[in-house]
């Protein structure tokens, strides 16, 4: 085939999660001799639309889109479809005529992490949630987490603060959390970036607070393997999301007519026992 | 001591100095005279290394020198007081005087005590007491001028350039300055003195060099010349009596009735009335409150109390724009800080507050009408410039002042407050401005003229309000408008205190 061109628009790329996605994409594309164009929207929907418009100018055949916001990118998806480009949403759903959506079971991820945390606390104690940027996957994790906590009578959710998924912001926020709740026993962070900040805060305070999270980032996995307050992260599989997503797209370019509308990717608990063997 | 030969200077295509020679000896005060824009300031900037000459040589003590910057000139023993202030508004007088030549302790820290003592000593020599702890921005214009002079004196320069230092001083203060200059002369310092006040020249100077349009005219001893000859050398023609005759009769109609102004709580309360077609002088020493009274009427100074009637109607102006709407305009005392928009051309500066005159379709500026009118206004006050589109900051100080005057004469407001209108204006142009002022009042407008130049106050005013300590202590008219009466009130007048 004469130079298949794959475009992928990321919501952000200064995050190992998306960086590893990009690496997987590059490997996969290389193996089939396709050209890759990657853009970074830096959390700006308007820029993401512009990025996609620019990629369409370059004549891409497949668009993998990791939307900053599901609703906001609709016009770009529509425009891509109008040019007969195969569109696959990765990690988060996009509105509009998307061909396939490949993403983690985020609600499960939040649920599993918080259930793990509650179990480790023997079903009782004060817990807090370190929230993040309000996009659907994050909101789903929080929802799953709250559902898990609700199953334990002894668990009380005493605080929810926003660490913006940023290590240094999370550090300050969690320090304050620890100050204001003398009996805090556990924290759930919506992602590993925030969790690493929370970990530093917990270690700095010298208190015994357990921490769980979602993602499976290398740093987090290492911290869990080392033992300490960080006891679990529910790992996603960013590389597999891209691989599966690309496969779906290729299937369509080869003429497949009944590709699945959505392919949920499983998540897995990573704790001290299996951390040593886990990597994205 | 200082010898300039064939100095030429061009700014781009414009040549402003055409080969000027100047020799200044140690122990003399050498006057540099010329009309506005003749090139005096430019020449002195060259002497002090701020500008580089296009051609010509500078010799100090017989040795040829080129100064890359002011520092290099200071090294060679040259100090200058600039025509435009060069003080740092938020630093105090001491910091300003020693800026860039601070005294240090052995640790390399500031030796604040030593600098303070030295500052006090130098200011003492000038015969002024100036608060040393407040930012110079809070000082009056004259006080700032003295800080400026003290700063140059602190350099211990052997060649001292004073570019119009007396423009902002009262006679008393000028005397102080002259005493110091005589002392310096005795010590062998060479002084270049620029002033548009010819009587000062005769009082203090030994020799005179005259420039006209950037060319050297002559150098002569003060003893060998007189005012008329000097003026002729400067302007190229004779100037007759500079003050136009005063009108015999001023109608009694009152256009502006300032019933009550109290600048500060517990300060004196003053009142005055301005008649149609009159020039009302405001005389007084520096800091006597003339400027503040004028600003207070227009709402630009927060006076404790201020009641003003315009054409019999009580007014309360919150900003100068309100005053302008009722026909009162103000030409401020500091052209650079308060008068000019430096980024504007001459044309734009003149039309700044007067677009109502060049309107098309109600909303839009009629550019052609604007150009025509401003060109006229420029001609009336004889602004020397390349054209109406020249940038303001390429004009000489006096020409900048003329632009602000042109703005207001062009505006034709009912009442004009002129604060030190002829500051920095040469003798020839002064006469023209005086004539224009009379012409203006003859058209039925009125002028309040704030001035620190007694001859000007006496020669121009129909009546004079004398200020002291923040209020009017006397209003004189007719035969009482003479220097003795005014100075007596200004120095000994008693202000009324209101509980």
């Amino acid at each position: 085939q004469d130079g298949l061109k794959i475009g992928m628009s990321f919501q952000e790329m200064n995050n190992p999660y998306f960086v590893s996605m990009q690496e997987a994409l590059n490997e996969a594309a290389e193996s089939i001799g396709a050209e890759v164009v990657v853009t970074d929207a830096a959390h700006d929907v308007a820029k993401q639309i512009s990025d996609i418009e620019d990629m369409l100018q370059q004549g891409i055949d497949i668009l993998l889109i990791n939307p900053t916001d599901s609703a906001g990118v609709e016009s770009a998806v529509t425009m891509a479809k109008a040019q007969d480009v195969v569109v696959v949403a990765v990690d988060a759903q996009a509105n509009g005529p998307v061909d396939t959506f490949v993403g983690s079971k985020n609600r499960d991820a939040g649920y599993m992490s918080c259930k793990y945390l509650a179990d480790e606390l023997d079903g009782k104690g004060e817990v807090a949630i370190l929230d993040g940027i309000p996009v659907v996957p994050i909101l789903e994790r929080v929802e799953g987490c709250k559902a898990a906590f609700a199953e334990y009578e002894g668990i009380t959710l005493v605080d929810t603060q926003n660490g913006r998924q940023d290590r240094s912001v999370a550090l300050g926020v969690v320090e304050n959390m620890i100050q204001s709740h003398a009996d805090l026993a556990g924290i759930f962070s919506v992602n590993d970036g925030g969790a690493m900040g929370a970990l530093a805060a917990i270690q700095g305070s010298g208190r015994d607070i357990k921490l769980t999270s979602v993602d499976g980032a290398p740093e987090a996995v290492k911290a869990i393997a080392d033992g300490g307050p960080f006891i679990e992260t529910t790992a996603q599989f960013p590389r597999d999301q891209v691989r599966v997503g690309l496969a779906m797209a290729l299937a369509q370019t080869w003429g497949a007519r009944v590709v699945p509308k959505a392919v949920p990717i499983d998540v897995r608990v990573v704790d001290a026992e299996n951390a040593a063997d886990f990597a994205w | 001591m200082l010898e300039l030969n064939g100095i030429k200077k061009s700014f781009g295509p414009v040549q402003v100095l055409h080969g000027v020679d100047l020799t200044v000896r140690g122990g003399e005060v050498h006057a540099l005279l010329g009309e506005n824009g003749a090139g005096k300031s430019t020449l002195m900037k060259i002497v002090s290394g701020i500008l580089q000459p296009s051609e010509g040589t500078i010799r100090v003590d017989g040795q040829e020198r080129t100064f890359a910057d002011y520092d290099a000139a200071i090294e060679a023993g040259i100090g200058i007081v600039f025509q435009e202030f060069s003080l740092i508004p938020y630093l105090n007088a001491v910091d300003n005087m020693f800026l860039a030549r601070e005294k240090r302790t052995r640790l390399g820290l500031l030796n604040r005590r030593a600098m303070r003592e030295r500052a006090r000593m130098i200011l003492g020599r000038l015969g002024v007491t100036i608060p040393l702890d407040v930012p110079v921005a809070r000082l009056s214009v004259a006080e700032q001028q003295f800080v400026e002079i003290a700063k140059a004196l602190s350099l211990e320069a052997r060649i001292l350039v004073l570019d119009e230092p007396t423009a902002t001083l009262t006679p008393d203060e000028v005397e102080h300055l002259f005493t110091v200059m005589r002392e310096l002369r005795r010590q062998g310092v060479a002084i270049v003195f620029i002033s548009h006040h010819l009587e000062e020249i005769f009082e203090i100077c030994d020799r005179i060099t005259v420039l006209r349009d950037g060319s050297f005219v002559a150098t002569c001893a003060v003893a060998d010349t007189d005012t008329d000859r000097l003026v002729e050398m400067m302007v190229g023609r004779r100037i007759e009596n500079s003050f136009p005759p005063k009108p015999a009769h001023i109608p009694a109609e009152i256009v502006l009735d300032c019933e009550e102004v109290q600048l500060r709580k517990n300060g004196p309360v003053s009142s005055f009335q301005l008649r149609k077609g009159e020039i009302l002088g405001f005389a007084g020493l520096v800091g006597s409150g003339r400027t503040e009274t004028a600003l207070a009427m227009l709402g630009a100074f927060p006076a404790a109390r201020c009641r003003v009637r315009v054409d019999g109607q009580e007014m309360r102006f919150r900003e100068p724009a309100d005053g302008l709407a009722h026909g009162i305009g103000l030409l401020p005392e500091s052209r650079k800080e308060q008068g000019l928009i430096t980024s504007f051309s001459i044309l734009q500066n003149i039309s700044l507050n007067n677009y109502g005159k060049y309107r098309r379709n109600h909303w839009f500026i009629d550019l052609k009408a604007e150009r025509a009118a401003t060109a006229d206004a420029m001609r009336n006050v004889r602004v020397k410039a390349q054209g109406p589109d020249a940038r303001i900051d390429t004009l000489s100080g006096g020409n900048q002042q003329k632009v602000v005057i042109a703005r207001w004469l062009n505006h034709q407001t009912k009442v004009l407050i002129f604060d030190e209108p002829t500051r920095g204006i040469d003798v020839g142009a002064k006469a023209e401005i005086y004539a224009l002022m009379r012409q203006y009042t003859a058209q039925g407008h009125s002028i309040i003229m704030i001035s620190s130049e007694l001859p000007e106050v006496i020669g121009m005013s129909d009546r004079v309000c004398v200020f002291k300590g923040g209020g009017i202590v006397a209003t004189v008219e007719g035969g009482h408008i003479n220097s003795e009466d005014i100075m007596t009130h200004a120095t000994t007048g008693r202000t009324q205190n209101v509980a």
């Binding site: 308007a46 609703a71 940027i133 | 308060q338 500026i365």
Partner: protein
Amino acid sequence: MSHDATVERRFDARRLLHSPLALPLIGLIVVSVLMGFASDNFFSVSNIFNVLRQVSIVAILAVGMTFVILTGGIDLSVGAVMALAGTIAAGLMVNFGMPGWVGLLAGLGVGVVLGVFNGFLVAWGRMPAIIVTLATMGIARGLGLIYSGGYPISGIPSWISWFGVGRIGIVPVPVIAMVIVYALAWVLLQRTAFGRHVYAIGGNELAAKLSGVKTQRVKLAVYAISGVTAAIAALILTGRLMSGQPNAGVGFELDAIAAVVLGGTAIAGGRGLILGTLIGAILLGILNNGLNLMGINPYMQDVIKGLIILLAIYIGREWR
């Protein structure tokens, strides 16, 4: 004779070169040509309209920013005000079922109110613009997030998309809107007393005030104008995103400032031309588009963009 003619010609060339627009234009041409070499698609009509459409939002924000900067101020709140205006407009349509035009008017109202708020505090409150608008930025962002609960608001009437993706003939609607806004701004600045007063305040505020310019009103007006252009930008953004996005426009204020300064306007106020801003905005847009088209690593794009801006301003400093 021939000698004279040469002199005259040279003089004219200098005049042209010394126009404040010369440099931004040269920059634009140079960058365009470079991009044209680097990418085949660059000079296609469809890509040119693509670039202009992308530019339109920042370019419109930059109009208000030009007014503000000309008076010597700055408006850091434009991105946040745009986001809030869009969010409120979408919220009224979606959550309160109001007709689209009511929502749009409300968005405009948000822009005006916040602009007046800024202007009032700067002019009558005599507070530094940078800090007032920084605070307004925080407030507007917070309000947008509170109002929307952090969720984008989608489900607005589909005709709104016309403002973002529609065309008249082959010209995208946002591009037409941009041209109209610039034309109006040009008239205001160059042909009205208000415009002269804007420049005068930037040149010497005290002198302008003492000369009878109503400086406070003019300052209020420029911030209000900035609010209005932010609301117009919000309209286009909402049309493009088909939703109200409380997080949209983060950092757009910096792009708008960059466009103004690249366009030759002095950051200290008093000097500059609105057309320069347009050129500056297009220059920035071309850089973004071109670097994307060339497939440059996004991290590298930041570096290259920064260097090119520095280079442009460096060369341009003689003209200021």
